[in-house]
Symmetry: D2
Subunit: 299 residues, 4 copies
C-alpha cells in the first residue's frame, strides 16, 4: 500500500496514485507536463475534494520545475532557471505594484538538509526599510521584508504563531514561505523546486507538522516554495520493496528509522538551490531587475 | 568636552562625569563598588531627572560585573561568574514561579562584534514547548522562549516591532534582551557584563538607535544584558587627545571613522562571553539547576 | 553476491562473510565480542593471507566500540567512552614516554559527513611547540602535532604525499589518522568507532581511494581511527534486495547513485563523535590527564 | 620616535621615514606613485643595504594597489581591480608556461582579521590533479596546488617548516604566499593589497614572527600578497600622540595592549578582499581566463 511512502511533491503523489491503480488519472486532479527551454515543468491542479483525497494535498496549483540542466551545468542554465522560476512565482503571487511582501525562511539553519529556507532568505533583497530611508534610490522597489522563523526546539514558539505575529505587525499583501521538503525519489533531491499557492505546513518536510501557514490562518495569500532535500530511508526501503514485489524486511526497515537519504554533497547542493530561489524571488518581486543588479545589491 | 566620548556603560558615564568636574559625584546618582569573590561588582543607580541628565541614561539600576578573574582563567572562575551573574539577574527580574520569560538576542550574527545577543541565545535552554510536550520531565521548568530579532538591514523590520509582535503573541511576564555594547575603554571589551532593569534601545551599541524595548513600549519589565565588544576608534582618539590635553588631530580623527577597537581574538572572546551569559540566564530562570544540568540539556 | 556491499568496518566484513557462507568463520580471522561497562567491543584480527582475502582488509587488529550507551545519553557515558577508546588506542599505539605523535585529520571539512577527521583535530591538544616555549608548564606532555591534509580537490596534492612530507619533517614516532568511513548498516552511523593498527587509505570512506598511509609508506606505525558516517544508498538498495531474496530493481539502484544514507542530524552527530575522538586521543597520548584538564586546555 | 609604529606596508614605512626627517627621500629607496584606471598604484623599491636600514624591509619590489574605487562600489571596479592585480602579480612572478605554482594561505581561519590567507585559498583554482585526471579538459591549465599552513598554535609545527616540506614534495617553480598584515593607518584596512617579490615572514602581520618563506629558505621565488586588516591599538595611540606633539599617556597605551583597530564589518571586508585576491591569482596564473570562467570553475 503506497500511502505510507512519504512525499511532499504533488507530482510524485499523482504518480503514486496512478501506479497504485495501474494507470488512469485521479478524478479532481489535472496534471500536465511541458518543456520550457531546457527545463521540464509539471503543473498539478488539485481541483476539489476528490482530488484532495486522492493526493492527500489541499486544493490549489502546484508547479514543479526540474533543474537537471542546471545540475549538468549547461551554459546559461542559472539565469534561465531564475527567469523560469520567477515567471512561475509571478503567476501565482497576486501582488499589485507597491504591495508589500513578506518572505519567510522555514526550517533549521543548523541542520543542513533543513536549511533551505533560512539560506534562501540570505539571498533575498530586503527593501522595506530602504524605501523609507532612501526613497530616491529605492522608491521604485517593492517593499520586501524577511524573517527566519526558527524551529520550535530553538525558539519554544510555533513557526505558525511567529509568522502570524509578524504578518499582524507588518501587514504584507502576501507571504512567500520557503522550506525543505521530503520526496520519494533520490534523483529529485536538491534538483527540483515546487511552487504552490496552497500555503504550507511548517516542518512537514523534515520533522513534525505544525500549524499551517495559509490564507485561512494568515488572511492573505501564502505561496509555498519547497525543495526536496531528503528521502526518508524508511520510504526508500518501502519503495524498493514494493517495486520488487516483496514485503520489506522489518529489520531493514527498523534500521532505516531516523535516517535520511541525501546527496553526498548536501552542503553545497543546499547552498546552490537556496541561491537560485533567492534570486528568482528577487526577479519575481521587483520589475526590471537583472541578475547583475541582484549580485550588486547583495555584495 | 567629554560628552562626545561614547559609552553604553553606566559606570563609565559616571566616571566621565566625575572626571569632567574634577571629583564629586553627580546628584541623582548613587554608585557603589564592591568585591564579590574574585569579581568586582559596581552598582549605579540613576534616581531621578538630575541623574538622567548627568549620565545620559534612563533611571534604573545598572549592575556591572568585571570578569578579570575569568579572563585570567582562575580556578572555578566560570561557575563563580555564572552564579554571580545569575544572582544579579534574579535580583532585577520580577518573576514568580511559573511565569514565562522571553529571551531576545539583539544584533547581527554575521558581524562578530555584534553577535553577542544571537550567540548567547544559542546557550539558552528553551523549555516552553517541552512543558507541554513532556510535562512529566519538564513540568518543573519555567517556560522560556527565545528569538533573535535580526537587524533592520536583514529583515526590513525594526527589532522593536518584531519583539513587540512576539510578546503580544507569547505574553511572557518579562523580557531579557541581550546585546553588544560600546565602551570607552579597550580594557573592558568582552570582559564586563552590564545588567540593567531599564530596557534597551536595540543597536545603540554598534549601530543606529532604534525603537526602545522597555516597560513603556512592551508593557512588561525588560532586563537588558550587555557586553561591550567595541570602542569606537573615534572615541579612542578623542579620549586619548583629551587625556593628553591637546585637541585631536582632525585627520587622525577622520581616519578612525567607521573603525572599531576590538580584541584581537574577538571571535573567541565573543563566543566565551556569550556562553557565560546563556548559562547565567539558565541558572537565573530555573531553580536548582547546576552547570552540569545545562551542559547535559544543551548537548 | 555480497562483495559489492561496501563497508569499511572489519566487523561488518566478517559478518558478511559468515552470512554468505551460512555460518562458520573465515579462516585466518579471529573475532571476539565482549562487553566493557556499557559498551560492546568487538576485536577482529586478520591473521594471514586467507584472512585478508576473506575480509578484503589488510592484516592487523581492528577494535570496534559501539557507542549506543552514549547515544542514549546514559549517565557518565561520555567519560566512560573516552576512557575505553583511550585504552584501546594505547593498546595499539607503540609509544614510549616522550615519543612524538602526529595526528592527521583526513577528509573534507566542507562536506559534513566527511568532516570527522578535521573536526576531531580541533579537539586535539597540540603541545609540540609548547614544550619548547614553556618547558616548565608543558615539559611533562608528550609532543603532539596535528595537520589536516585537505582533499585532493582542494589542494591538488594527494593526502598521502602531504602526510609523508610532514612526517619527513617532524619525524614523529607514530601517526594517528582520523577519517570518516562507510558502513553497511544505517544503525551504526556516527555511533561506532573503529581503531586499527593497519594504517588507512585516505578517502576510501567517502570518495576515491588514494595512496595508503601505513608503515610501508611512512616507515612508522599508523593507527587509523574511523567513524562510519554514511551508507551508500546503492549499498542499502543492494543489501535490502539481497535480504528480501530478490534482484534489485535496476532503476531504483540507479536512482540511488551518488546518494548517501545518513542521520538526519548529521551536523550534530559528526560534531559529537569528533569531540569524543579528540578527547580520547588526548587521554591516550598524555599520562594522568582528566577530561576537565582537556576542557581547560581547549577553552 | 616613529620606529615603534608598526607597519608591514613598504609605502607606509617610506612615508614614516620622510615624516621623521621632514622631507627628503631615504637613500637606497625608489618610490613612485601612479594612477592606473580608477586605482592608485605605488611601487617602492628597496635597492640596497641603506634602503633596508631606512625602511626596515628586505630589498625587493613592493607594489601597493589602493582599492578605494572598489570600496566605493564603482561600476566595473571588481574586474578592473582583478586585472590590475593580476598584471602586477605576473610582473613579479617568474613563471614559464607549464611551470607549477604553489599558493600558500598563511594565518588562522578562526580569527577573522587573520583569515585572509585561508579565505583567499578558497577562491584559488586548484588544477594540478586535474591536468593528470582530465588532460583533455585541463591540459592547457598551469598546475596549481594550494595549502593552508595553519598556525603554530593549531598544528604545533612552524608554518615555515610545513611549507618547506610541501615544496620539497611538490617541487613548484614558485610560491605565492597570502597573509594578513598590520598597517599604521586605519583607512587602509581591507582596502589595500601589497604584492612583493621578497617573500614573507609568516605571522609577522598579526602575531609573532616565524621562519621566513623566501628564496633563501625555499630555493625558489616567493611572492608575498598581503592585506592590512588591523592596526595595533598601541600603534594608533603612539601615532596620534606623536602627531599631537605630546608624549602618549602610559595608561592609555597600556589599555590598548592586545587590542586592534579594525573595520566594523571585518567579516565581510575580509571575505571580499580574499575573493579579489583569489580571482586575481587565477587570472595571473592561467592565460586567457575570464572572471566568468573562474565563477564557473569555483561554483
Amino acid at each position: 500500500m503506497n500511502r505510507t511512502i512519504r512525499t511532499d511533491l504533488a507530482l510524485e503523489a499523482e504518480a503514486l496514485w496512478r501506479e497504485s491503480r495501474s494507470g488512469g488519472a485521479p478524478e479532481g486532479v489535472r496534471a500536465r507536463r511541458e518543456k520550457r527551454g531546457a527545463f521540464a515543468v509539471t503543473t498539478v491542479e488539485v481541483l476539489d475534494d476528490r482530488g484532495e483525497a486522492a493526493l492527500g494535498k489541499p486544493r490549489g496549483t502546484y508547479v514543479t520545475v526540474e533543474l537537471d540542466a542546471l545540475i549538468r551545468r549547461e551554459e546559461n542554465a542559472f539565469p534561465e532557471a531564475c527567469a523560469l522560476l520567477a515567471e512561475a512565482l509571478r503567476a501565482l503571487l497576486p501582488l499589485s505594484p507597491g504591495d508589500a511582501c513578506l518572505v519567510v525562511g522555514l526550517g533549521n539553519r543548523a541542520i543542513t538538509p533543513d536549511a533551505v529556507g533560512p539560506d534562501a532568505v540570505d539571498y533575498v533583497m530586503v527593501t522595506r526599510h530602504l524605501r523609507e530611508q532612501l526613497p530616491e534610490d529605492f522608491g521604485a522597489f517593492r517593499p520586501v521584508c524577511a524573517v527566519c522563523s526558527g524551529v520550535l526546539g530553538t525558539t519554544g514558539i510555533e513557526s505558525g504563531s511567529l509568522v502570524r505575529a509578524v504578518t499582524d505587525t507588518v501587514r504584507p499583501a502576501a507571504v512567500v514561505a520557503v522550506d525543505a521538503l521530503a520526496s520519494r525519489s533520490p534523483d529529485r533531491l536538491c534538483r527540483t523546486v515546487q511552487i504552490a499557492d496552497t500555503g504550507i505546513v511548517p516542518g512537514s518536510g523534515v520533522g513534525n507538522a505544525r500549524q499551517a501557514l495559509n490564507r485561512e490562518t494568515l488572511g492573505i495569500p501564502v505561496i509555498a516554495v519547497g525543495v526536496p532535500t531528503v528521502v526518508d530511508a524508511a520510504t526508500l526501503t518501502l519503495d524498493l520493496a514494493s517495486r520488487g514485489g516483496v514485503s520489506p524486511d522489518p529489520q531493514a526497515f527498523g534500521e532505516a528509522g531516523g535516517m535520511i537519504v541525501t546527496p553526498r554533497e548536501i552542503d553545497k547542493s543546499v547552498r546552490d538551490v537556496s541561491k537560485l530561489i533567492g534570486y528568482a524571488l528577487n526577479l519575481a518581486l521587483h520589475d526590471g531587475l537583472t541578475i547583475e543588479d541582484v549580485d550588486m545589491f547583495l555584495s
